[in-house]
Symmetry: C2
Subunit: 242 residues, 2 copies
């Protein structure tokens, strides 16, 4: 696939945006870099004339925007996703720089849709949202003043996506066919159910164990076949005679 086609497979996901002006600015930033697929998770106000005004000509991006109720919906069908975050996380998944993430996402775009996810203006993404994505992505910024405006952050990442997609050296695409977001989530839900039924996991005392499991599998890029194998193992264990 050529670079321009890779850009067609990039979803820009804005989660819980407060100010419609920032949605308009993001649409404009996307269009300047040749991206068109905007997903809005539970925006505070959309459509909105303020968004239209700030889009300044990127009305087509706004008109085609998908408004969804959850990040899971926005990521459905993707094969790789980056959570754009300024804060340092405790997760052991290595953080990618904007440039590194753009190269990796462009490579995976040969297999399907990829996504970049941006959080609330004030507080960014929640830990739960970051955990749903394949990798945290950070913009190398001044450590003493790293608060980029939402539109500016979208602009920078879209620029790096364009630079990666149109660079002469085509980014390497992964060897095996990557598992999709849905397949990986299906695996996690299956595993959680099995852990719960077995008594290993207690939903009344939750969260920490599931987070650690997600960290563990978040470090690898699961392929379709590997997810099938893992789920096969779980299913076999579930069937074991008691």
């Amino acid at each position: 696939m050529n670079g321009a086609n890779a850009l067609d497979r990039v979803r820009i996901v804005l989660s819980h945006t407060s100010h419609p002006g920032n949605i308009g600015a993001a649409a404009r930033a996307m269009k300047t870099m040749g991206l068109a697929r905007l997903y809005l998770v539970a925006p505070a106000a959309f459509p909105d004339p303020v968004a239209d005004a700030r889009a300044s000509g990127a009305d087509d991006v706004l008109a085609a925007a998908q408004v969804v109720g959850s990040l899971e919906e926005a990521l459905a069908g993707t094969v790789l996703s980056g959570a754009v975050t300024a804060r340092r996380r405790e997760r052991s998944v290595p953080v990618r720089s904007a440039r590194e993430a753009a190269a990796e996402l462009t490579g995976f775009a040969a297999h399907g849709d990829v996504a970049l996810v941006f959080g609330r203006e004030t507080s960014g993404l929640t830990n739960e949202e970051v955990a749903l994505c394949s990798m945290p992505v950070t913009i190398p910024a001044n450590p003493e003043f790293s608060s980029l405006n939402l539109g500016a952050a979208v602009q920078l990442l879209c620029y790096e996506m364009r630079m990666a997609a149109l660079s002469p050296g085509v980014p390497a695409s992964p060897d095996g066919e990557p598992a999709s977001f849905d397949e990986i989530e299906g695996f996690h839900h299956h595993l959680e159910a099995a852990m719960t039924a077995s008594g290993f996991y207690d939903p009344a005392n939750p969260k920490r164990l599931l987070q650690r499991v997600r960290r563990l599998f978040g470090r690898i890029r699961l392929e379709k076949e590997e997810v099938n194998i893992l789920r096969g193992i779980i299913a076999a264990l579930e069937r074991k005679p008691d």
Copy 2:
């Protein structure tokens, strides 16, 4: 010099900005990338509470901003400058991409101040302003929609400057000592005066010849000594017996 010091030598010059909000957005964008030196050429409104509001914490950059009356003043003492422009120019000086320009500017910062110049929100830089700079710089954008917001353009260029300055491979600094903006302008004024006095150039039928001369010398990075040699030649020719 290390990378952080190089960033201290970068002037961000905004020429004839109409909206103070964009000045604030530029200040914020600069500070997120560790840049601090803002020059404003004849801004429509500054200082202004709208600029303060959009700066969101980059008040120090605004407070230290230099307001000047002309681009010449903003470029005085610089050793290399880039004119950020979306339009294709007829000039034969090769256009640099944002990334290429950042590498070159970072290299020259070892010798003195460097500058990135941004034009009016609606019409960009004039041809005269571009001609005063060492090179045109363009952000690789969607050819069908290349109108970046001013703050977004400043954000991208400051990001590339930070990436270039802090990258492990230190950019090459030029061999000879580069001539400053003032020295090169002094040469052009000297040459123009000599051409006029000799009758070769007619100020009543102006512009085109001077532009071509600037194009010619704009393609090379004149060193201090080379400017001295050229001016010596002109002076010698001026003194020739008639």
